[in-house]
Amino acid sequence: MTEAKKEAEKLKKEIIVTGNEKPNVGVYVCHCGVNIAGVISVEDLIEYSKTLPDVTVARDYKFFCADTGQNIIKEDIQAGLVNRVVVAACSPRMHEPTFRLVLKEAGLNQFLFEQANIREHSTWVHMREPEGAYEIAKDHVRMAVAKARELKPLEVKKVSIEPTCLIIGGGISGMNAALDLANGGFKVYLVERTPTIGGHMAQLDKTFPTMDCSACILTPRMVDVARNENIELLTYSEVVEVTGYVGNFEATILKKPHYVDQVKCNGCGICVDYCPVTCGNEFDLGLASRKAIYVPFPQAVPGQFTIDMDKCIKCGICAREDVCEPEAINFEDEPEYLKVKIGTIIIATGWDLYDPTELGQYGFGRYPNVITGLQMERILSSTGPLVGKPARPSDLKDPHSIAFLQCVGSRNFRDGGNQYCSRVCCMYATKQARQYKEKHPEADVYIFYMDIRAFGKGYEEFYESAARNYGINYIRGRIAEVSEDEDKNIVIRAEDTLLQEPIELKVNMFVLSCGLEPRADAGDIASLVRIQRSSDGFFMEAHPKLRPVDTLTAGIFVAGVAQGPKDIPDAVAQAKGAASSAAALMGKGEIELEPFFGSVDMARCIGCGMCVENCAYGAIELIEDRHFGTVASINNALCKGCGACSGNCRCAAIDVIGFTGEQIFEIITKRC
């Protein structure tokens, strides 16, 4: 501890506030550099604040959130000048916790604080109308002071936390988060909806920029997950309901029927030889087939088989004793529901690939030799249908020329397009181009790009080497249209924007570097756990810089591409961040919640029961009181403080602590 801190500690005395004494409000107007002071006159605002009732102190400072700024407030509290604090600055969603801590450290009850938002809601949105911004700042300060005068000291609510985490999604992000938490001693439920963990990374052949084999780094992790005794792996399962709140969630998980006894099945795979039904293999993106009884790929974890009942014709051959010796086939298998108690949730549901069919000018779906980047991965992959001998789909011949097109579906502001940059396509196309050149140095490989974004560690070097050592041709220009010639070659039209000339180019195969999209059902997941999505459809973090793995719902974290496009290193980093945030929360054993509850004035309550109906948490019941008869009673352990009860109370008998009717009326009343 520094000397200054020791000194402050010595000085600190507790300021006892009962709530009944005269409020002494301190108003602290923050310049926030030029963000506020550059638009409105802070001096005028201070002078105005001094005219408000019960304001004893009004001060300004460059940054009240900084150490020196905090000390100004603390000194006033300790000096007995103020017992209610109003900071006029940024959004309380940014710094309310900071300033509450200031009060706490100064010995004042932390709930005697109110923040006036004069940055996000004033100087930033009205920067071109400074007069209007100033009027709003004045009103927001006045409204905050009005509420501050009505503030009462409150005690925090402490609840215990279940040291268990539910992770939705078993890709590289979900697996890494699961392993970190499990290794830290927490119990983990890892729920994956397909029959295997591994996610999209399992489909990749090599990873940029190091060119290490994807399977070699992924499959050992998959095995680790399966073996870890703290991880309960629930594949072919989906979370169907989540109730409760931070520390005390309850999730219902649907275990879909495999129709193969997962204990008895020894993964021998004889059934596959006998199964008469052939269908497209999702794992190989339609480039290869599988049977109705299947594992998605040979290294799948778990390795037991599943019957795809949409495809199965129920011939029963696989169930024959001579086919399935362990007698694992069970056509009567039923869905199972599992209820689990958990303290935290990590959403790692990953991504879908942009479907380029709607971009008719690129011929995807019409011309066989137009493929997506993910299909190219399977074509290049040594575990893919072509066992690492890349060929084009129409005739399985080696393509001597390949063109890649970047930003397919990305940076696209038309309906159906994605406005964002997908962050991985420049590098994966470069990687695939290099892989192809390694096998066929004589081939002509073109990458049509708008901007090459090589921002990661080692990426620019990777790109440079692709051009210099591998001779990959980078052409700056977006392909405008393609057509097919009689030999199924693709004729490309584009502009070489650096030459400023149109070009026409014939290639054997055309790869669309499609971007990453939110899962098609991301909206359902968001509703399921009640978190928000950003305008791009990915799950929204609580703060883009400071809380990148938290969501706005306490106890729920996001990891990987579910939050936004990212490459493997970033996805893993975020997964580890989410795991450590979840661990930090669960490690304490209990958490402090805002003590904002409904509160019933029994003298007014007539026991109509309207609030009972409107409470989404079942926190209210009608009781018989000795003095007041039938009245509503609120269980603080269940109450979340939403106030739906109070909003509907016909006799104004229910109030919400923290947002009381009295406080809001004070805010409403015009006193200027």
Binding site: G360, Q361, R366, S483
Partner: protein, 316 residues
């Protein structure tokens, strides 16, 4: 509406069809009458005005004159209908733009008020093909087919403004690979063959033909090369200006680019309703397919006899 008609439209003629290719006008009138659709005359209608030319000079003038043309149909309480992609572009774009831009609509009506007109925007401008495909429907058309021409290989030319800009057109946003015209053509038993750059522009529009005729002819040269390579017997189109460019322009290209073209092109150019009318059993005379004049320097510049020879057998 008189009893015998199921549909009623205001026939917006434009310029090229009535004044240069009257066989197109004749065939549209004949086919619509046959299908039970009444075409009312839009008395005093002017040039649409052409979207590539007048719109390019002065957008407000273009809007005002176009709106005036639409008001003539509005007064009759019918949709203006046109067989020309250019007129369609002008009338429909005006209709959509004035729907979205209230300020502009006000401006247009201020000028129209001076001649005692008011533009309301309550009548949707339509294309002949739109009426056939969306109002009447493929099944209705199929019921009228009498003769089929299974030996006929057709290169369908859509033109541009019938499908684009797609956000102002009724085809559900499809512009890369529309099929409606092929579907109508194939009702006649003819085969719509695929050819390179099928949806490419004829080259006449956008004021290019007026500016540099040779460039328009070069568009047509490329288009016709692809059509010839694909082995098409005829070209079917749905726009008099494309029709002109592919017919007259074909002759021009044969002259200007004879070194590149080699053997001159001689692909007959037929307007959609001419083919459709034949299939419905309408007298070829009414469809403008039979020449009964001695005039020189008038279309068709490329003989349509090869076409008539192919369909002759089926017509008997």
């Amino acid at each position: 509406m008189s009893e015998q008609y199921k549909w009623r439209y205001g026939f917006f003629l434009g310029c090229v069809a009535p004044n240069r290719y009257p066989m197109i006008e004749a065939s549209i009138r004949a086919v619509f009458e046959h299908l039970g659709a009444e075409l009312l005359e839009l008395e005093g209608a002017s040039c649409c005005p052409a979207p590539g030319v007048f719109r390019a000079f002065h957008i407000p003038s273009w809007l005002v004159i176009a709106a005036r043309n639409i008001t003539i149909a509005e007064e009759l309480g019918v949709s203006p209908i046109t067989g020309c992609n250019g007129c369609y572009g002008t009338l429909r774009d005006t209709w959509v733009e004035l729907e979205h831009d209230k300020e502009m609509k006000k401006m247009v009506n201020e000028h129209l008020a001076k001649v005692g007109r008011e533009y309301k925007g309550n009548m949707e401008p339509k294309h002949v093909v739109q009426a056939l495909y969306l109002d009447m429907g493929i099944d209705y058309l199929r019921d009228h087919v009498k003769h089929t021409f299974s030996d006929l290989k057709v290169a369908v030319h859509y033109g541009c403004h019938i499908v684009k800009p797609s956000d102002k057109r009724p085809w559900g946003g499809e512009y890369e690979n529309p099929t409606f015209l092929d579907e109508i053509v194939e009702l006649t038993g003819a085969k719509s063959i695929d050819y390179k750059d099928k949806f490419m522009c004829c080259g006449a529009g956008g004021a290019v033909r007026t500016a540099v005729k040779e460039i328009s002819a070069d568009f047509s040269r490329e288009k016709l090369t692809n059509i010839r390579e694909a082995g098409a017997d005829i070209i079917i189109n749905c726009c008099p200006f494309c029709h002109l460019q592919l017919d007259l322009g074909q002759m021009e290209a044969n002259g200007i680019y004879k070194d590149i073209i080699g053997e001159p092109f001689k692909v007959p150019v037929i307007y959609l309703t001419q083919l459709l009318g034949l299939s419905f059993g309408i007298d070829p005379n009414q469809l403008g397919l039979i020449k009964n004049h001695e005039l020189a320097g008038v279309p068709p510049f490329i003989s349509i006899d090869p076409f008539l020879n192919i369909v002759k057998e089926q017509l008997i």
